[in-house]
Subunit: 243 residues, 2 copies
């Protein structure tokens, strides 16, 4: 019997019986008491809550009801957590980064299938780069939540976007784009997109975008390839290609 099986067996024993001593558990599982203690520690590390009373009449008891009620997260919540972990992982090497990864994986797994794939696609479209340089950073504002929600919808529904853009020279133009991803160089945000009128991939700074709205008549290919880079090279960024 492998350790893995024994652990679930131990958990089953704890759930079944109200309270037992480590000695009886050891006998039931066919291992030494020391090993049972180690296994109990492993179960505790995995989140099981249990009380343990010393002395005669004491024993180990699983705290039922404190066990996992499923948590339902909204899409935005998962995105934000995912994003925070990703960002902080890039910014500094965190000690708990391994746990962050597994936690995020669980977070993704907790979502229902269609939302999970949707979210996964969205996550892979957000690229976190190094912080922006000082001159760029100056005067930049964080993107409005509303604007970001529009992009979110454009991604998940695969629809085109129209907006007013003010370029570096202050010229204002009307753009129609196919949004492919977001690039974050804190605190500056860029939209990676294909300009539908010029037919070329472009980067748009989000704080220069105004009045964004979905284009009802333009839809992308249902499953085109997705960017798969960690830290982008701004010169060599390549647009998505339809599958």
């Amino acid at each position: 019997m492998s350790r893995l099986d024994r652990l679930s067996d131990l958990e089953a024993h704890l759930r079944a019986r109200g309270e037992t001593t480590v000695g009886s558990l050891a006998a039931a599982l066919g291992v030494s008491e020391r090993t049972v203690f180690r296994d109990l520690a492993a179960l505790r590390a995995r989140g099981l809550v249990m009380d343990a009373d010393p002395g005669p009449g004491g024993g180990v008891r699983l705290d039922r009801g404190l066990s996992p009620h499923a948590v339902q997260f909204t899409l935005a919540e998962v995105v934000s957590l995912w994003f925070a972990a990703r960002l902080s992982q890039g910014a500094s090497n965190l000690p708990w980064s391994g746990a962050a990864r597994t936690g995020l994986a669980k977070l993704l797994g907790s979502l229902a299938r269609p939302r999970a794939t949707e979210l996964h696609a969205l996550c892979r479209r957000v690229i976190v780069g190094p912080p922006a340089s000082e001159p760029v950073r100056a005067g930049a504002r964080a993107p409005e939540r509303e604007l970001l929600g529009t992009f979110e919808r454009a991604f998940s529904e695969r629809r085109g976007l129209g907006f007013h853009y003010t370029d570096q020279q202050g010229r204002q133009t009307l753009r129609r784009v196919e949004p492919h991803g977001l690039l974050v160089e804190p605190p500056v945000w860029y939209v990676l997109a294909r300009d539908l009128d010029k037919g070329e991939p472009r980067m748009f700074r989000m704080d220069r975008i105004a009045r964004a709205r979905l284009l009802p008549d333009i839809r992308f290919h249902p499953d085109f390839a997705v960017i798969d880079v960690q830290v982008p090279d701004r010169e060599r960024w390549r647009p998505l290609t339809a599958a």
Copy 2:
């Protein structure tokens, strides 16, 4: 990462993504493909049903709905997520920060009551400051996970700590401290603690600490006050006081 953790991580990955190749899973988990196959076999043995298609475009896919599923986070996972959100919130203004807060609240809510308070206490002991200055940053390493685990235990069990410390002049001394909190100035970590022999509060850089272990005979007052600052002023840091 133990095999146990990796298996649940693998399961979460399978639940999150629709279909993946063994190669990408191996990369995500940091192990060889052979090991992934072994882990997949273990999950199948535990009752998970999955389809596997050979050939280009193929992959492994979990047959959902065939196994009970509850999201259960470990303490370390919640800490890391909380911490990541906190850190990234301080570093740059995130667009989804509101959602991050509510998501974290749910995360905390998913934990059992006693663990939630324990976690809350632990979280409040970690202070995230501005990044370290260049001279300090140079040569600093991130703290080992093992060392951090020792501090985690010292906090939650309220026990004293002993370690070897190398100060700025290179002198090595043996210290006995009462750890009060952690200060993070990425990527440098400090331990805020009271030196039990000198009777004064001190800051210890974590990369200069070696051979840390719990002092079995020293325990703190069961509920002493907790630091409650966001960004510390290094000059005016005050030690915890017993309640």
